[in-house]
Amino acid sequence: MKTILLGVGDLGVTNKPGEELQAQSLGAGVAVIVADSRTGCIGMDHIALPDSTVSLRRAEEKPGYFADTGIAALLEAMKVFGSNISEGGMIVKLVGGANVMDPNSTFNIGRRNVQAVKEVLWKYGLGPVAEDVGGRVNRTVTVESITGKIRISAPGREAWEL
């Protein structure tokens, strides 16, 4: 299996058998995983922050960094592989968004990331069918092409599937 690593802000798409996408140590970041059940194409975006107003320049260089620019860029990248949301069959899953329990709410970036991702997805008429988010877990996620099988691991825990 060939593993394509997605760093923070990277997005990747593949439809090749024997390939998988991986986002390591998500922390409060969120991996948005889109699988096209018609074509077997999978895409993933490793989002760091909810809102691109933090750095419009970064959003231009690396749209995948922010929820409000990353999902549009991911769906656009998947079009090249023949995946189009207008034709249906898109399955979305979310992983990551670890949360710090801050009663002042300031440090709850994981929760804000997940919320921002969902709000963008809703604009496209999409929503996650499954999610493994929140908690005090530093997840690494791997998604297999064609099957769309998702494996999650974290130090100190047995790996699991979503």
Binding site: A28, G29, V137, G156
Partner: protein, 290 residues
């Protein structure tokens, strides 16, 4: 708590920090230090000088003209990075060993401390007491040094502690360490700091970075800045293994650090950018940072 004899023995066997590292830490512990003092210390140390010049001339900095003196490297690397990298270099035998007792790999302690240091400095911009700005970086570099000592005594325990924290048996990872060892990485780290004769401010940060409210009043803002800086590092996914994110945030930080949610997002962003640049320069063509 008292540190068990076996662990105390390990602390006593840690070799002293180099003269250069000790002098650098004492310089930056003074809020009114002179940058020239840092340059003088580094320039007198051939190994440090070679390492820093190799970094600044790496691809990550993209300089067209090679830099050949420490004085000329300062504007590109910054005083903080020079001090931080120097400390990491002087204690590389501790920072780069794998933390098997936390299920983390070689170098994870260094990358975590580096990211926490950058974040703590960013957080300190929002502190009510601005005099802590420069020492926060050094505090971030040093804060988790105790893990390098207790890791070996925690082998086989991470999964038990994680399960205990998930089930509510332990409130956080620190409590798990205390249950298993009778001490924790903060207390052991403070003993390492004392062994190295670090300034009182840095020893306080190492001891209290998970319970900053217990820090002496004169070092409390500093302890809170490093406490929050460590959370920013962990939220960015840069932890030391099984314990990553498994700590409690002290909500009273707001009495010392006035930061909004939007400002924190900027801190996370700036930290990530600087961290990636430094790591890229440090690991440029090398297997390990040092």
């Amino acid at each position: 708590m008292t540190i068990p004899n076996e662990i105390s023995g390990s602390i006593n066997n840690i070799r002293p920090m180099s003269q250069s590292a000790n002098r650098l830490m004492n310089i930056v512990a003074d809020p009114e230090y002179d940058c020239q003092d840092i340059i003088d210390v580094v320039a007198m140390d051939a190994v440090l000088t070679a390492k820093l010049l190799r970094m600044v001339n790496s691809v990550a900095f993209g300089l067209r003209v090679p830099i050949d003196t420490v004085a000329r490297a300062v504007p590109y690397l910054g005083e903080r990075m020079i001090v931080g990298v120097s400390l990491g270099l002087c204690a590389s035998h501790l920072y780069n060993k794998p933390l098997t007792g936390y299920e983390s790999e070689e170098g994870a302690l260094w990358t975590h401390c580096l990211r926490a240091a950058i974040a703590a400095r960013e957080i300190a911009r929002y502190a009510n007491d601005k005099t802590i700005l420069d020492v926060t970086y050094t505090g971030g570099v040093m804060h988790d040094i105790g893990k390098s000592v207790i890791s070996i005594y925690l082998e086989g325990s991470p999964r038990k502690i994680v399960q205990g924290a998930d089930s509510g048996k332990f409130t956080d990872y620190i409590e798990g360490e205390r249950q298993i060892l009778g001490t924790d990485h903060c207390e052991v780290g403070a003993a390492v700091a004392a062994h190295w004769r670090l300034p009182a401010s840095l020893t306080a940060v190492v001891r209290h970075h998970h319970e900053p409210g217990n820090s002496p009043q004169e070092h409390r803002a500093l302890a809170y800045a490093v406490h929050l800086g460590e959370f920013v590092a962990m939220m960015g996914g840069t932890g030391t293994g099984a314990d990553t994110l498994m700590y409690r945030i002290d909500e009273n930080y707001k009495d010392y650090i006035s930061i909004s949610a939007k400002e924190l997002e900027l801190v996370v962003f700036n930290t990530g950018q600087e961290y990636e640049k430094i790591v890229s320069a440090m690991f440029d063509g090398q297997e390990t940072a040092f």
